[in-house]
């Protein structure tokens, strides 16, 4: 007797034999599974329709056949069956999804509806079949989000990536003319790999983290004094100038000890707080891209070590000598646009971290100084420290307290002694 592909649900038209539990010649039973069937909705075991012996398997495991198709033949006790000539369906020949399916075959394709359940037009069916596409993955722009031929063509032109074009039920607005970038007035600069990765990362970060920006203004007078006292000797000894950045990095590391939650990452519904501080340092590659190599173990470093480590990764970044390990395990990132004299920058979080600090230009400004004898005005080197934080991870008060602590350290630490 015939064993047929069962109906696995009202709307299911085909099923895949996922595994055979019996071999040809085995005794089969209505009480034991003969084969497993899967569809896009369910997976189930199918027992033999009668007691007997498995005579023939017509559909290999992995093959998909329509409901009602004979998948096997069993012979009951005393039953005589003429040799069946139908070939065994091979897994690879049944699923017509690999090569360009001939146009005549599209009528048997499984999903002839788009993501909204609208039926596909003949032109769309043909394109979907010829290009082995999943119509549900393509956004439709027609009435009720209907998938139109031009939507599929645009999807293919985009390299098959999912477009987020929203359906346009209101068509009152005339279509804008397509942008024409040709001509002598324009230069088209294709994204290189770094640009593309940066673009993807930035979009993903903004889409992932609700960014909040907070900024404090810090007086760098103490650092400036300490720096100027040693700068010539430093340059001679180390071979590079001592900038403000290692001081800020040192202050950040110390503040993180008191406010460790800015030094973390979100994992599902958990905030993972790192004990180790690995500082990402954003480095601009002469306008040709941006990288953020990581200074590992920054929390344990002295100011001198920090300065050398930051210098090291920056140099290697500019000389294209960074290794994959230099980019891993960052826990907090500092971005420095100060060289161009900017006042404030709202940085984008370096995922999966939860905060990033931007340091900008440090310039001399008149500052009100409170003394016991009353307020006076002094000229001080002042700069803004701006932190973007992920509001999922922490709140404004915590971030503000951290920033305030960074400022305090910058303004009050005995940097001259630290440098000595």
């Amino acid at each position: 007797m015939d064993v047929i592909m069962p109906q696995l649900g009202e709307t299911v038209s085909e099923g895949t034999v996922s595994v055979w539990h019996s071999k040809i010649g085995d005794k089969v039973s209505t009480k034991a599974p003969l084969f497993d069937v899967s569809s896009d909705k369910v997976e189930m075991e199918v027992p033999a329709p009668a007691e007997g012996t498995l005579l023939e398997i017509r559909v290999d495991a992995g093959a998909t056949v329509p409901v009602g198709e004979v998948v096997a033949i069993i012979v009951r006790e005393g039953e005589v069956i003429e040799a069946a000539a139908a070939p065994v369906a091979k897994a690879e020949t049944v699923a017509p999804k690999t090569a360009a399916a001939p146009v005549r075959d599209v009528s048997v394709k499984s999903a002839n509806r788009d993501a909204r359940g609208n039926p596909l037009s003949p032109a769309v069916r043909r394109l979907v079949a010829e290009n082995s596409l999943d119509p549900a993955a393509i956004s439709g722009t027609g009435l009720n989000g209907r998938l139109k031929k031009k939507d599929v063509l645009a999807y293919l032109a985009d390299g098959g990536s999912a477009r987020s074009a929203s359906p346009s039920p209101s068509r009152a607005m005339p279509k804008p003319a397509p942008l024409d970038f040709s001509g002598e007035d324009t230069e088209v600069i294709p994204f290189n790999n770094l640009r593309r990765l940066t673009a993807e990362h930035m979009v993903r970060s903004k889409a992932t983290s609700p960014h909040v920006l907070q900024a404090v203004e810090a007086d760098f007078a103490r650092i400036a004094r300490a720096r100027s006292g040693v700068s010539a000797a430093w340059k001679k000894r180390e071979g590079f100038s001592l900038t403000y950045l290692p001081f800020i990095a040192k202050a950040v590391c110390e503040a993180i000890r008191e406010f460790p939650r800015v030094n973390g990452a979100i994992d599902g519904e958990n905030l993972v707080v790192f004990r180790r501080i690995n500082l990402g340092i954003a480095v601009d590659l002469d306008f040709d891209g941006l990288v953020a190599p990581v200074v590992k173990g920054a929390g344990e470093m002295t100011l001198h070590e920090l300065a050398r480590a930051i210098r090291d990764v920056s140099d290697r970044a500019r000389n294209n000598q960074l290794k994959p390990d230099d980019f891993t395990d960052g826990t907090y990132t500092i971005s420095n646009s100060g060289v161009f004299g900017t006042m404030i920058t709202a940085p984008i979080i370096n995922q999966p971290q939860v905060a990033i600090l931007s340091t900008d230009g440090i310039t001399k400004k008149p500052v009100v100084i409170e003394t016991e004898d009353g307020d006076t005005i002094g000229i001080r080197p002042v700069g803004v420290l701006a932190q973007s934080f992920d509001h999922r991870a922490i709140d404004g008060a915590y971030s503000a307290a951290f920033l305030n602590r960074v400022r305090e350290i910058i303004q009050t630490k005995d940097w001259a002694t630290v440098l000595a």
Binding site: V103, S121, P122, A123, V124, R146, K148, R171, A172, P174
Partner: protein, 325 residues
């Protein structure tokens, strides 16, 4: 180029061919001295005289019988049936005799005649004088069927019909008689069996005939201006032979077909085009075929009711906006 009315283009084409070929004769009711009830044949009687331009009694069967006999015996007659509705009374001569003579004589006999007739509605003439019957003629094997939409096409296609060695049914849409348009000067002959693309658009292909062509063009401009839908407009011009190449090509480009037909819906010419498109380029269609037609009813005489039945530019716009995308 001269600006002529649609009706003046009729007389211009007949005059052009009568001057060129002495075998061309013209007969019908009030076509001579009166210049035609629609004034489409003014001047012909004066120029060519009562032998070649012959007024007949009110007897459609006699007109077409005489035309058939004279065509069989070597003339190239043009016969006018005043209202296309009256073709029904002479359908035996048209459908069984004129259309079949070449076939049944094994080609020994040709039938180089033209039956001109004022077709269609929009002029408040009521159910027996307003019908759009081009689809009647289209379904008879052995007839060629032409229905121009502009003065230039009237002149060029009527001249081509007169020169054609087989019977041609020439449907002039009577509400178009007053429209004006540039018509080439001098001898001008067009080609039967050719459709014209009058407007290029990327979103939908509107296929129209005769009086529906200017309405489709007007609708296309409004669709573009107000709804951002760009319509290609194809003037079919000739139902037999049918320029399927042009129609299939233009429908393939947009993936959408809309026919705009004045004839009643059942078995209208657009049904045949829809069938051909579905047969030949089904896999290029990006949505259902739509037909915009007069409903399957006798045409009313009242202004408002007649306007409500025939496809208008507004209705074309509305139906396309509601159904195409």
């Amino acid at each position: 180029m001269a600006e002529l009315t649609y009706r003046e283009a009729v007389a211009a084409a007949i005059a052009q061919e009568m001057r060129r070929d002495d075998d061309v004769v013209f007969l019908g009711e009030d076509i001579g001295k009166a210049g035609g009830v629609f004034k489409a044949t003014v001047g012909l009687f004066k120029e060519f005289g009562p032998v070649r331009v012959r007024d007949t009694p009110i007897s459609e069967q006699a007109i077409l019988g005489a035309a058939m006999g004279s065509a069989m015996t070597g003339l190239k007659p043009i016969a006018e049936i005043m209202f296309s509705d009256f073709l029904a009374v002479c359908w035996d001569i048209v459908a069984n005799e004129i259309a079949k003579a070449r076939y049944m004589t094994g080609g020994q006999m040709s039938m180089p005649l033209v039956i001109r007739t004022a077709n269609g509605g929009g002029s408040r003439f009521g159910a027996q004088h307003s019908q759009s019957v081009e689809n009647w003629a289209m379904m008879i094997p052995g007839l060629k069927v032409v229905a121009p939409s502009s003065p230039a096409d009237v002149k060029g296609l009527l001249a081509a019909a007169i020169r054609d060695p087989d019977p041609v049914m020439f449907f002039e849409q009577k509400s178009l008689y007053p429209i004006k348009g540039e018509v080439p000067d001098g001898e001008y002959v067009d080609e039967l069996g050719t459709a014209k693309v009058l407007r290029d658009g990327g979103d939908v292909t509107v296929v129209a005939l005769a009086a529906m062509v200017p309405r489709a063009l007007k609708a296309a401009e409004e669709l573009s201006a107000k709804h951002g839908i760009e319509a290609t407009v194809v003037d079919v011009r000739s139902l037999v032979p049918l320029d399927t190449q042009t129609i299939l090509r233009e429908v393939s480009k947009t993936g959408r077909l809309v026919t705009v037909e004045e004839n009643p819906r059942l078995c209208g010419w657009g049904a045949e085009i829809a069938s051909i498109v579905a047969d030949e380029i089904f896999w290029d269609l990006d949505g259902p075929i739509m037909r915009i037609t007069t409903p399957h009813i006798p045409l009313p005489a009242a202004d408002a009711l007649e306007d409500a039945t025939m496809p208008s530019a507004e209705r074309i716009v509305r139906e396309i906006v509601e159904n195409i995308d």
